[in-house]
């Protein structure tokens, strides 16, 4: 299974789901990640933020704003659609493509930080690395996620994690962001095994 099918899946019943992060929490962890980036990237002057659609893009934009506050410099931000690089294309009908938007100066020789909302199996990030490979040659690639829920299926880890959230495979994690969902929250819910189980 893949993280993307879970973080944005509509199978979560938000009434039954339990919020594990609320709006202020999300703002706080992004601020923390911004500081970590500045610290580890030594001023972050060659950082390019690439969000993985849909919610990773909003996270990248928010993070860029925070980095600008801290460093006083604009940080290039873009989006990286990984649909065409997925390893599970054959398992379902073709999905709609999202936008890949690489900032004007490109990614060659830069530190690319990928942004995603939930890190789960790692397959999305694998696809993102492949996609990145076709676009240019960064100096280094790092990964920032809002939530790491575990259950990795590939040797991939995040460099910046908003919250480590140990979950069971029977649970779902859904990230909501104001830009898309009208509010900020990370919800932990139970997986719907069959619609018949619902009232």
């Amino acid at each position: 299974m893949d993280a993307k099918t879970h973080d944005s899946g509509s199978a979560v019943d938000s009434d039954a789901a339990r919020p594990v992060l609320e709006g202020p929490d999300i703002a706080r962890v992004l601020t923390r990640i911004a500081h970590e980036i500045v610290e580890r990237a030594k001023g972050a002057d060659d950082v390019v933020l690439l969000g993985i659609p849909t919610r990773g893009v909003f996270l990248a934009q928010r993070l860029a704003a925070k980095l600008e506050e801290i460093t006083g410099r604009k940080v290039p931000v873009g989006s990286l659609d990984i649909t065409m690089y997925r390893d599970d294309l054959r398992l379902q009908p073709p999905r709609a493509l999202a936008r890949t938007e690489i900032p004007g100066d490109g990614i060659d020789g830069r530190l690319v930080i990928l942004l995603d909302d939930v890190l789960f199996s790692g397959r999305t990030i694998r696809a993102a690395l492949d996609a990145l490979n076709d676009i240019g040659r960064p100096r280094a690639v790092q990964l920032a996620v809002l939530v790491d829920r575990g259950h990795r299926e590939l040797p991939i880890r995040a460099d910046y994690v908003g919250k480590n959230l140990p979950t069971s495979l029977r649970e779902t994690v859904k990230v909501q962001l104001a830009e898309e969902d009208g509010r900020d929250a990370v919800l932990l819910g139970a997986k719907q095994t069959s619609p018949a189980g619902r009232q």
Partner: protein
């Protein structure tokens, strides 16, 4: 099975918009250093061309290769087809090689439909032009070009062509491009007017979802796009029109005529152009003429179609009419 693209008439409005939107993303791949996506890795596509058409074939081939499909080109010339092998035998031979999709260009109207519905093969069939019937990817790339030029690349996303007035000029009778465009443009909400000498309009056109006019000059000021169709000189010998000169005078697009079009209006041509016949060099080389753009857009559209038909475990495009009753 909903997994072929035979006719533009088979596409719903949402299907068509989805293809155009997907093509818009595909077009961006062309701007990258590596113009290739791994999406169709391991899929085999055969370009089965019973008619010469270098343009269409290389456009499909470019699209297939950009999506990493394995490509087999099969040209009827010099093959066993010219020795009398039938379409059925050829198709079955190809399928035995494990082909996932057949892109077919055939001189006989309906050949792709037969291939898709006769039970000869299981592969997905994509019509790359059949006789005087249909050429759906051409219509899609034309609609894509119109949407980009008349609405805008980003502004056009999710949009159809509602209210746009499209004029198609020339040999409608023998044109699969005209048929496909009438169907698709109608589906996308555009208002289509066909302009041609009455000899080059089919009997039965009154049932098409479009208007027919014989006077080009009266239609031009009300056109957002004017699509010129190629007129073969041979038609003259079959008395479809008296002389080339008279045809050009009445139905050709020159600078003076182009000046009658609204400022924003574009000139389109599926190519290859017969300069001096249906279009003057002045028009063909003008900024308003989209011929070269159409070629580039053709690759993006074909990538989109290939992705949507072959990229998943089932096609994303819902045909309504190709299914056997």
């Amino acid at each position: 099975m909903k997994r072929h693209l035979i006719s533009a008439a088979d596409l719903t409005r949402d299907d068509a918009v989805r293809i155009l939107d997907t093509a818009e993303e595909m077009a961006r791949v062309a701007d990258r250093p590596i113009k290739k996506l791994p999406t169709l890795r391991g899929r085999t596509v055969v370009n089965l061309f019973f008619e010469d058409s270098t343009r269409t074939r290389i456009s499909f081939e470019a699209a297939e290769k950009r999506l990493s499909a394995d490509v087999i080109n099969f040209s009827a010339k010099g093959s066993s087809v010219s020795k009398g092998e039938s379409l059925k035998d050829t198709a079955q031979t190809l399928e035995a090689m494990g082909v996932d999709a057949v892109v077919i260009r055939h001189g006989a109207s309906g050949a792709p439909y037969r291939l898709a519905t006769s039970g000869w093969i299981d592969a997905t069939v994509i019509n790359a032009g059949d006789g005087t019937h249909q050429h759906p990817t051409q219509a899609l790339l034309d609609a894509f070009t119109m949407r980009r030029r008349l609405i805008g690349r980003d502004a056009g996303l999710g949009q159809d062509l509602s209210g746009k007035r499209i004029t198609i000029v020339g040999d409608v009778l023998h044109s699969r491009v005209a048929r496909s465009n009438v169907d698709l443009l109608h589906t996308l909400g555009a208002e289509v007017t066909l302009v041609a000498p009455p000899t080059l309009v089919p009997v039965g056109v009154d049932h098409w979802p479009c208007e027919v006019a014989y006077d080009l000059d009266s239609v031009l000021p009300k056109s957002d796009a004017v699509m010129m169709l190629r007129v073969q000189r041979e038609r003259m010998n079959a008395a479809f029109f008296p002389t080339e000169r008279e045809y050009s005078r009445r139905y050709g697009l020159d600078g003076d005529r182009m000046a009658k079009m609204p400022e924003h209006a574009i000139v389109m041509h599926p190519g290859p152009m017969v300069r001096g016949m249906e279009i003057t060099a002045e028009v063909a080389d003008s900024e308003r003429c989209t011929v070269v753009e159409q070629v580039a857009n053709g690759v993006s559209i074909r990538m989109a179609v290939l992705y949507l038909l072959l990229g998943g475990n089932e096609p994303a495009v819902t045909h309504t009419r190709t299914e056997e009753k």
